[in-house]
């Protein structure tokens, strides 16, 4: 076993740190990942900066309010919901109807359909200009949408979009 002798004491820690440096560094290259020229990657620095800024702003606000704000004294009575003097019964949350699930699921399916249309729209012009792919590009999307249109018809006729039924 590779680790059997090293499993004891601090030596394991040291060697594992060493291992991370040695073995993990070329890890991306095992899968041919990292050795590409970065042409588009720098464009995403802005996204990263925005992300960091967003985390910093929200986190900062929470930390600042915790540091600067004055903590109110809460008690159990104070935290209960006010219901005209009655004691509240049961939980605040209720079960949702299964209708929400149906709508959300159908939304996802049509969402994925639209996701496929996006790259299609991007390459449509260039593939139309190309003689070899000219007949393919429109037909492929029409058949894709045609099959899904059957699903749409089915959903409409079965009143899946009908909230009241």
């Amino acid at each position: 076993m590779l680790f059997a002798s090293e499993l004891c004491g601090a030596r394991f820690l040291l060697s594992s740190l060493n291992w991370i440096e040695l073995k993990l560094a070329p890890l991306p290259q095992v899968f041919n990942l990292c050795v590409m020229q970065d042409t588009q990657l720098p464009q995403y620095i802005a996204v990263l900066m925005l992300f960091v800024l967003a985390v910093a702003a929200t986190g900062g606000m929470i930390v600042m309010s915790m540091m600067l704000g004055k903590k109110g004294r809460g008690s159990k009575i104070k935290d209960t919901a006010y219901e005209c003097g009655m004691l509240p019964i049961g939980e605040g949350s209720t079960r949702l109807s299964v209708k929400f699930y149906l709508v959300a699921m159908l939304f996802i399916l049509f969402d994925i359909e639209v996701v496929f249309m996006y790259p299609w729209a991007v390459v449509y012009k260039s593939m139309l200009a190309d003689e070899a792919t000219r007949n393919l590009i429109l037909g492929s999307m029409i058949s894709f949408l045609g099959i899904l249109f059957v699903g749409y018809l089915y959903a409409v006729k079965k009143r899946a979009f009908d909230w009241k039924s």
Partner: protein, 492 residues
């Protein structure tokens, strides 16, 4: 682009769409017969396929489409006929079952047809993308088909179990595909075969291959991935179970054969031990667990695990004799299993559970069904002169022939024989319940509709035909597996 190669798949998908649309405008009472129409259409497609290209001139209809992703060769033609036949028989069974489906009878038919389309694509898949998409089409359709009788808790439980374990196995398979692609950069099986020899030492590549095998093992219910089988078989509506046992398993095997022997033959050659062990354990596990079962569908679930083990014998043999034996055995398994599930669906119609005791007095109620189930059990057990016997004989012969190479094959053959002996016990328990049980719950004769009768007689004829006159199908199977070993088709 060679669309004419795919005319069969396109027609099946179109049939599914037509059935789905017909549901929307047909009055509810006429939807039931839609199943017969669909079965007849599948039968016509099968006839057209049979007459279109005979077995001896396979080269005529061969070719690849979509950049070698879709391949039409002897193997895929064999399996496509297999799936069409299974689909037509299951549809007839589904019509019989339809009075127990509260809502969506025609959806049931169309989902069966879509699963069939997935199997047809799987038969032609020659690329990891196709492999994954076709497997998912089959599996996702089966998730729905399994919990179709949504009022029954057992069906829902079976559906959830199948969904969770199926999603897990798909995840393993996708991870495996990603690793294989990451190391070799190939998606196409033929291209992968050219470079796979260089990667036999690459551990990451082998790791990916193991994960893909795990995903396929789930489909065929081989040993470490068989957990779902009994529960799903028991809980699912009977036509679904029948289609799962025959179609889904066969689709797993065609993909397994193509993956092992077309895509990575140089790796497979070193893995005889793995296949021997998996096959042996699967046989023993399935047969031993089947013994205490009292529920007929659950019993057949365990028996289907055992049969996956028998089929793996032919895969483990790694010769074309073994592979053609797999194809032959699957053909026999098709008729036998469908016959058994048909009888279960008809006899257990008015019972809540499919307990073996429900078979009591079947001999008086319907001699035809009693004889059918008896024949099916005898054939599954592997007694001459029925289909199951000759299939097992071919598989064992292929394994023993390899015994000179590796003595493990002798152990495997012995294990398989032990499994057969064990299986005799529980198969004959079923037969005993038909003929020799005292207290029959009901004595009223069972009515069988004419199409159902035709299907049953067809299954019986198939069981006898494959057992007595194996020549024709065996020749077909032998020419079919040739496609595995000489994938010399030029990529267009």
């Amino acid at each position: 682009m060679n669309l004419s190669l795919m005319s069969l798949e396109i027609s099946v998908v179109a049939l599914g769409l037509v059935v789905l649309l017909a549901d929307l405008w047909l009055p509810a009472e006429r939807r039931r017969a839609l199943g017969y129409v669909a079965a007849a259409a599948l039968g016509l497609l099968l006839l057209q396929n049979l007459s279109g290209c005979c077995s001896c001139c396979v080269a005529g209809g061969d070719g690849t489409a979509f950049g070698g992703m879709f391949v039409q060769d002897g193997l895929s033609v064999f399996f496509k006929r297999f799936f069409l036949l299974a689909g037509a028989l299951v549809l007839v069974l589904a019509v019989e079952f339809s009075d127990r489906i509260a809502t969506g009878v025609s959806e049931y038919y169309s989902l069966i047809i879509f699963a069939l389309a997935g199997m047809l694509f799987a038969a032609s898949a020659n690329d990891f993308a196709m492999l994954f998409v076709s497997i998912e089409l089959i599996t996702i359709t089966f998730y729905i088909l399994t919990s179709f009788t949504r009022g029954k808790v057992a069906a829902l439980e079976a559906g959830v179990k199948y969904l969770i374990l199926g999603a897990l196995s798909s995840a393993f398979m996708v991870y495996g595909i990603a690793l294989v692609w990451g190391t070799t950069g190939k998606f196409n099986f033929n291209e992968l075969a050219q470079v796979a020899g260089n990667f036999t030492d690459n551990k990451v590549f082998l790791f990916g291959v193991v994960f893909i095998l795990a995903g396929l093992g789930f489909k065929i219910a081989a040993f470490p991935f068989q957990m779902w089988t009994p529960d799903v078989y028991q809980g699912a509506p009977t036509p679904t179970t029948a289609f799962l046992a025959v179609g889904s398993k066969a689709a797993g095997f065609v993909l397994l054969l193509r993956f092992l022997f077309t895509a990575i033959p140089s790796v497979t050659a070193h893995w005889d031990k793995l296949l021997i062990i998996i096959s042996g354990i699967t046989i023993l596990y399935g047969n031993l667990c089947a013994i205490p079962q009292r529920n007929l569908k659950r019993l057949l679930g365990y028996s289907s695990i055992a049969h996956a083990g028998y089929l793996l014998l032919g895969v483990a043999a790694m010769t074309s004799a073994g592979q053609s034996a797999v194809l032959y055995y699957l053909s026999g398994y098709l008729f036998t299993t469908l016959a058994a599930f048909t009888v279960i669906a008809l006899v257990m119609r008015h019972l809540d559970s499919e307990d073996i005791a429900g078979l009591a007095g079947l001999n008086q109620r319907s001699p035809l069904l009693a004889a059918t189930l008896t024949l099916a059990m005898v054939s599954l057990a592997g007694i001459p002169p029925l289909a199951g016997f000759f299939g097992k004989f071919l598989l064992l012969k292929a394994v023993i022939e390899q015994g000179a190479v590796n003595h493990g094959y002798y152990c495997l053959a012995f294990t398989a024989l032990v499994g057969v002996v064990i299986s005799l016990y529980y198969y004959f328990g079923v037969i005993r319940a038909i003929y020799w049980s005292k207290d029959a719950a009901s004595r009223e004769p069972i009515l069988i509709s004419t199409p159902m009768r035709v299907a049953i007689v067809g299954c019986i004829a198939g069981i006898f035909w494959l057992g007595v006159a194996p020549g024709a199908v065996l020749r077909l199977a032998e020419s079919a597996v040739n496609a595995l070993h000489c994938p010399g088709l030029a990529l267009n």
